[in-house]
Amino acid sequence: MIDTQTSVLAQTSGQAGEPVVFWLLAVVSVAAALGMIFLRKAVHSALMLAVVMLSLAVLYAVQDAPFLAFVQVIVYTGAVLMLFLFVLMLVGVSSTDSLVETIRGQRLWAAIAGIGFAALLVAGLGNAALSESMGLAAANGEGGNVIGLARLLFTKYVFAFEVTSALLITAALGAMVLAHRERHAPRPTQKELSKRRFRPGGHPSPLPGPGTYARHNAVDMPALLPDGSVSELSVNPIIARRSGTARLHADLHGQTEEQAVEHDVAAVKAATEAAHDADAEVRETKAGTSAAGGPASEGEAGK
């Protein structure tokens, strides 16, 4: 068992395929990191960061650090990025960066500083006398990487390890304190809510439902009111902010938005007129059949 592991480690320290993996993942990770900076939507940035982290995990695995590779996948890609995505969803997915520069020339100077910094680092690394890597086969010793790390962690670095536990507890407490919200006013009862609904500015009836007649019935499709205006109340505000409103009425047949809205308005008007006519016809027939009782009952209703 130990022999096979050490032979595997000896093989991995001098893998033939390492340059292929390195160049592939170097290109992918730098491209993803650049994408993370340049993509405007925060969710896209988070996904790009996931790509970078996964390729870094593979690079750790290639560099004789299998334990760190798994920790990278579990802690970073699994926990940290999920936390980022949770917060993004809470804050609002639609939050895109504005492209307005608040400090003039900031982007230009940031790019210049970045290029200068990178040149400085790379030049420094080029001048450094880097020996060829020794490989970790000897350092891992018997039992492989995980046992080697555990041996160090619980002897030489045991104090730092214990301090880490204090740090984690403090962080958990801090997150709880920061995320906790005090309720300053008592929770409104159903009676108060109903009173508030009937006050001016409230909306006593249920809100109109989304969807426009037979053509669309998706939740992001605002309802059209009889006068042809779009009812903002019919769509969830977050969805409305994400997907515009009147734009959705542009039809499949290559119409412009205005034409589509006019079309819908005409359809609604035709439908209401038809309903009105049908109603009138029904009344006429009713009036015709019960000519004697009709006016009298109407008069009573009028009173």
């Binding site: 750790y60 809470l90 960066d97 970790l136 790390l149």
Partner: protein, 99 residues
């Protein structure tokens, strides 16, 4: 492969993260760029560990990961609190202490 390649890659990723911190306005994206910088430093630690043939670099990278996890939890909680009071996650809007 010589460790120099890995170190150059780590330097590039660190620089990209630093430029992102300077350029982006959304606090969450700024935070992601900080995470990228930490990851780049970890890559350098791992390749130094391999270069010197001992495991201390990997231990330090492990501690960096622990500290980064704690930092993310507290930082995102702060961003959430700011968002709750100011309805914005832009770093430009948090300027009460500016003048």
């Amino acid at each position: 492969m010589s460790p120099g390649h890995y170190l150059v890659l780590s330097a590039l990723l660190f620089t990209i993260g630093a430029v992102g911190v300077l350029v982006r306005r959304n606090a969450i994206v700024v935070f992601m760029c900080v995470e990228l910088m930490l990851n780049a430093a970890n890559l350098a630690f791992v390749s130094f560990a391999r270069m010197h043939g001992n495991l201390d670099g990997q231990i330090i990278a492990f501690f960096v990961m622990v500290v980064a996890a704690a930092e993310v939890v507290v930082g995102l909680a702060i961003i959430m609190t700011i968002f709750r009071t100011r309805r914005s996650s832009s770093v430009d809007d948090v300027n009460l202490l500016k003048y």
